[in-house]
Every structure is written in structure tokens, then in C-alpha cells.
Point group: C2
Chain length 158, copies 2
Amino acid sequence: MCIYTNLPIVRSLSSEQLAGWRSFINAHDRATRAINRDLAAAGLPELRYYDVLWAIRSAGDKRLRVGEVAEHVILSRTGLVRLLERLVERGLLEKQPVPGDRRGAYVALTQEGEQLLREMWPVYRSGIQRYFAQPLGQWMTQLRRLDKVAIEPEVSRS
Amino acid sequence: MCIYTNLPIVRSLSSEQLAGWRSFINAHDRATRAINRDLAAAGLPELRYYDVLWAIRSAGDKRLRVGEVAEHVILSRTGLVRLLERLVERGLLEKQPVPGDRRGAYVALTQEGEQLLREMWPVYRSGIQRYFAQPLGQWMTQLRRLDKVAIEPEVSRS
DNA sequence: AAAGATTGAATTATCAATCTTG
DNA sequence: CAAGATTGATAATTCAATCTTT
């Protein structure tokens, strides 16, 4: 254990590994920025809108509990609430009470939300292809290895 | 060309490709969040601080023009200026005039900046290893293919 | 008290406009 | 006017505290 961080000490990274990491974060930033720019140029909202609406549409009855959306979208709980707020304001989502649990709330996809997903997808797909899938080629599928990474909470917060 | 986006039309993505993209963005978010959390737990500032200081230290004389920093760090020009502002405030960087061009400014690494880099690196390295390099294994080096992706400006913003 | 969700205050990021020098 | 850098106003993100229901 490292006395500063309480984390296990690991062997030094190779320079290839470090270069891989830098490629990874740079590629992520460039690709998402480029896609967001293409979306904005088409008069469409940002990538994150798509991700949230898509997660909700993927649910059986096209609605999810707020907490369930949080599992799909990586964003702080507060940030998610604020984002949903904006989506509801624009009429893309609708809030519904949860029968049997008056604490909770559903967010349900509206017709406008469905429509927006259809409009955004061609731009999004094109971006994934151009900025990501083409340059990476067959190795793309290897990235699914990263799905396994478990991030445990470091310490309980009080 | 798509009439909405002015972008070339591409063939549909395979489901493997789409899954690879989702793994990519999820892994990025989880890894950077986990590393930032580990840094915060050690009383250290966020990842982005490291990236900026590291880019500057990598320069021959440990200083860079503001515009040169912008080439290394993916952030809006304004965002970069604000970030540098904070770094200067904390004494990690120092501003210096550029001889022969009174428009420009250098940002130069201070002793405190060097020291902070040394303190952050073990935590950062450990995070790259745990959350990224280990699960990806040998495939990691293939990510360097992404370095080639050129993102051209869409239109002039007149 | 714990779970689910929201709000207020502070920090950070962004766009458009500005200032200064070449 | 163009290049380099910064500022003001605005929007988004986060932490801590809060509210309601179980």
C-alpha cells in the first residue's frame, strides 16, 4: 500500500502503455467534440441528450426511474437531475408518478423525444464511423474488454 | 452528402461497432472519474491539472506559449485561459513575457508545479494501470491508431 | 434511520465580444 | 485586418444540505 493514497503499489507503466492511455483520452475528447460540433451544425442538441433518450427508449415501456437512468448515463446524481429537467422543459421527456412508491418518479419518452432520436442518429452514426470506427478498424471490438472494469467506491463518505 | 448535415453518408454501423463505441465512452468516463476520485482522496487536484503541467514540463525549457498549451490539452481556448489562471493563482505556473512579441505570454512551470507533478504521478499511474491497462492488456497499443484521426473544422464561423 | 429525488451555493466551461500588438 | 490572449455574460456541473416517503 502507498502511504499517501492507500492504494496498492503497481509496477511502472511501459511507455507503450502510457502512449496508449494518452491516445485513448485524446481520441475520446476529439471524437466527442467533433460529433457535438456536427450535431450543433445541424441544429441539434448535444450527445448527452441522445444517450439519455436512447437509454429510456431501450426500456421495455419507454420509461425509467431516475435512478435507473443514472446507471446508464455517467453523470453525478445532481447533474442527471438537472439534465432531465432540461429534457422535460423541451418536451422530450415527461414525468410520471410511480404507483406504489410516492418517493419515486418515472421519466418517459414523448413523441418529440422519439422524433429527436431519429433526427440525431444519422449525424451521430456518421461521427462514430468517421472519427472512431474507421481509424480503429477490427480492434474496435477489443474495447469490450473494458466493460469488465469494476470501480469500487473508495471510502464511505461519512 | 446528407442534406441536413452536409456530411458524407456512411453505411450503417454494425452492432459490434456500436457496442465498441459504447464501451469506449463508458470506459473513459469510469476511468477518469475513478482516477479523479483517487486523486481527491489523496488531497490532490484533478487530472486536468496534471495534463497541463505535464505538457509544459515536456517542453525544452519547461515553458510554453498559451497557444501551444492549447494544442496539447483539449479544452476551449477560453476554458484553457481560465484553467491557467487557477494554476498561476496556486503558484504552479508563472507567466512570463515573450521577448519580441508583446502580444504573447509564456506559462512556465514553477518549483511547486514540479513538486505537484511528482506527488500526483503515483496516483495517476496506479489508476491508469488498474482501470485501463490491466483490463485492456496487449490491445492497448492498438489505440495509437486513433492518433491519426484528423478533425477538420466544419465551416468557418465568420 | 435509509431510500429516492431535488434544491442552493459555488465551481467550472462555453460563446461572443473585446483589447492589444503585429 | 489578422494573431494572440483575455474578459463578461451565460450555461452546465458539482458538493452539501434538504425534503418526502418508506
